[in-house]
Symmetry: C2
Subunit: 159 residues, 2 copies
């Protein structure tokens, strides 16, 4: 359960590169280098090192899911009959493709998930048909997002 070894000896340059790439992965090495006053080759070496260390992994396009008809974002808090059922329930939840995120949590809920789906009917289907079938869930509480007013990534630049 111990955490990943924390000290990767990342210097200011590494953190600055990460900060750039986590916001825009399309920047060229030359562009990043220019901003940070080093050559494109150096940026290349650093990025390779960061990838090998697993600090940065793949790049993904941002997709506007609303434009694809996915209008509903909901958060669902799940109460378990026994908290020892976490593993088995988690396994079943993962099979539902609309569940995009799942956290084991403290507080009221044992499991907290995020669902993205097309409309309220589909959400009802997930809540009433799919979740009800899973053994070990006592009850659920749904928080429906009416508007997502912020979605960004944390700033990692050194102080």
């Amino acid at each position: 359960m111990a955490n990943t070894p924390p000290d990767l000896n990342l210097d200011k340059l590494d953190l600055n590169i990460i900060q750039q790439l986590m916001h825009d992965a399309s920047l060229s090495y030359a562009e990043i280098g220019k901003k940070l006053f080093v050559s494109a080759g150096t940026i290349h070496v650093r990025i390779k090192k960061l990838q090998e260390a697993g600090v940065i992994s793949g790049m993904k396009y941002q997709v506007d899911l609303k434009k694809l008809g996915y209008d509903v974002i909901a958060f669902i808090g799940i109460y378990l009959e026994k908290s020892s059922l976490y593993d088995t329930v988690a396994k079943d939840l993962k099979k539902i493709p609309e569940i995009v995120r799942m956290n084991y949590t403290t507080g009221n809920y044992s499991i907290f998930v995020e669902v993205v789906c097309k409309d309220i009917n589909q959400l009802r289907y997930i809540l009433h048909d799919e979740l009800q079938k899973i053994k070990g869930i006592e009850r659920t509480e749904t928080i429906l997002s009416l508007e997502e007013s912020l979605h960004r990534t944390v700033t990692v630049t050194p102080a």
Copy 2:
């Protein structure tokens, strides 16, 4: 308040391209084209069209925040004194850089936010010092993530 015009006339090819790129933006046009049995030029034209329509926007690197020392993910449900205070409270919340996501919600809470920070001390600081200062917040409820067991994106491939 009306939604974005839904019909962009996306065909199967468009959806397949989106599906590929939202998982791995580093694929070359030639690679995607090979998988989908069209030329690289066609992929290029389609991606350009999708970008202009805003269906896909920038690409971002995935960053392992744990390896950078960000060990804490928490969800905070916020109760407002009056729900009309949403705009002004939202504006103040956005100033806190550790708040990475914010939704206006139904259910128990009026506002639901996600926080990413380095340790529990920093979380306490955000809860006790930063949030307390914001006018209009009645109280908050914190859900701490002990483990993130799933984080993926919804599947958009046509049925």
